[in-house]
Symmetry: C2
Subunit: 353 residues, 2 copies
Amino acid sequence: MADATDTTDPSPHPKSRGAARRALRRGPTIDDVAEVAGVSRGTVSRVLNGAHYVSPGALKAVEQAMRTTGYTVNQSARSLVTKQSNAIAFVLSEPQERLFEDPNFSVLLRCCTQALGEQDFSLVLMLESSADERDRVLRYVRGGHVDGVLLISAHAGDPFIGDLARGVLPAVACGRPAGPGIPYVAAEDRQGAREMTQYLVDQGRRRIGMIACSPVVGGPERLAGYRDVLGRKALKRLVVDAADYSHAAGVAAMRELLAASPDIDAVFAASDLLAAGAIDELRRSGRRVPDDVAVGGFDDSRIARETDPPLTTIRQPLEQVAREMVDVLLRLVRREPASSRLLPTELVVRASA
Amino acid sequence: MADATDTTDPSPHPKSRGAARRALRRGPTIDDVAEVAGVSRGTVSRVLNGAHYVSPGALKAVEQAMRTTGYTVNQSARSLVTKQSNAIAFVLSEPQERLFEDPNFSVLLRCCTQALGEQDFSLVLMLESSADERDRVLRYVRGGHVDGVLLISAHAGDPFIGDLARGVLPAVACGRPAGPGIPYVAAEDRQGAREMTQYLVDQGRRRIGMIACSPVVGGPERLAGYRDVLGRKALKRLVVDAADYSHAAGVAAMRELLAASPDIDAVFAASDLLAAGAIDELRRSGRRVPDDVAVGGFDDSRIARETDPPLTTIRQPLEQVAREMVDVLLRLVRREPASSRLLPTELVVRASA
DNA sequence: CTGAAAGCGCTTACAG
DNA sequence: CTGAAAGCGCTTACAG
């Protein structure tokens, strides 16, 4: 009645469902597997979900049948009953262009995708800059499409965070967010900044400037670490606050610093990208790095190896940050307890300082 | 019987479904909306799907009810019957670290996400390097989780492409893939390369080298464009083939070129990242850019503005490539005809040549 | 234009 | 350990 190439099912008889369905576009169903294995679909389902309470014989038959039919579970049907999607939203807020151009972000995205994949979760990427997009994200997240949210934002204090904190869904942020209530994973920014500053001091540098970036997540902590070491000695005119972690901002900040303190002999930039801009500007001003001015960065991102000279910086264990974010989030999804984590940094000495 | 805080439904009576369900975790359903609006759920569904064959009165009532209940459609239930997921897989093959560090890739990912979002499609990011991951991707894609695939690969000739070409799902590739059968969107690489080479010639350069990159998508075309202009004059020792589009490869290639042809007075690199590496190596060798050696890149990615001096390059309209990829794919998903597209490039003159 | 009914493919108590 | 049954929330012919 229904041959292999016929995609319509003219038969209303419930008994011929299996055969007819096999002819449809979306491969075999659990019923087909059950039929082939000679068991009920309940048993197949049990095999699918951990094989508890299944006899060895049935297990073998079902596994064999799954292979011969090429069965693959229909996630929509499963989600409909379990109310779990096995998907996670990776939400980027605010100025995405900026975020996307940050090498750190790429690492985060790649490692989260990978860690999630290993647990059979998929990552759906969502942007959230315009009001429209924000709405869409909120609807999506609330609509049960995902089981949890990974929150990546450059700026602290995103309003979206508040909505999530209200307990709609499990969420974890990258970096300490402004609002409380959301667990986060971050590097020990303050301690790392202290270490770099101390290193510059130990190298005999006397006038150590800082290119800070307080509007960005992690920025305030890095500035605090610098002040921890230099205390009163950190004159106001030695610190300039960049608007973001970009190369251009680094160039501008360095120019400002040089104008205010031409006798500066070291500068600690709150990110590698900022440091790269600073190096370019220093060279343009006729100064040698590190001979005249030492430059320290923060992140140890890819570009730390591409500056000329290569950058002395503080390594942030971003791969680990990503893995831990996924770990915390998945625990929360499983209703297990989990809380914020702080990861240690490490000084990496190269040629710039 | 079931109060607002009670999440179990002790009532087996079908008539009390609405009230009990409203107390469950996943918000209101189509039945709740129907009840509030005083219509059948079929009517609500029709409103959801374009509001055809719905009277103005019913429409108004349903819209109102959706608002008061805060209704949001359950995509799993919908997918189960429509067999559409409204999701697209963005699949990255092979060496992801490399791809992720490419600024071009970020643009592509960002713009695809955005274009997809505007059509209410979501993007799920998938990596495909290990055999395990490849399996996972294949299962996922075949399992009906997504309606189509955006294929991004550095290397041409990925085996995965073959599987897709076999008609499992609509797919479109970025850049001309090795295998036929998959539509693609790409920049006019060859023409762009011709333009750059001709520009260098017009600037009076005599010994124009090339840092090619034939293993990478787009690479062969760019080399061909260079040869189109220089023909026989392009001596073998003026061309070196880099392994990938990385900064490190650019440094290495430039060193090689300099060793073979110390009198070189221009170099065309097949990507901006390669060009950035070349500039660093030229400076290290004591040569001035562009005075001694002019350098041209390809892409006009972010880093073209960050090199010192800023890079003269060929602009690839990547935002448009992304949008067109999404357009082609979505047409295919809707079973509309669509085929490959080639987008024009543009010479951008800055200071390096 | 609208309602009642069937069905999408799965999971999960409930009996046995 | 296993089967039969109910139900997840939606869409889609089918009558009216």
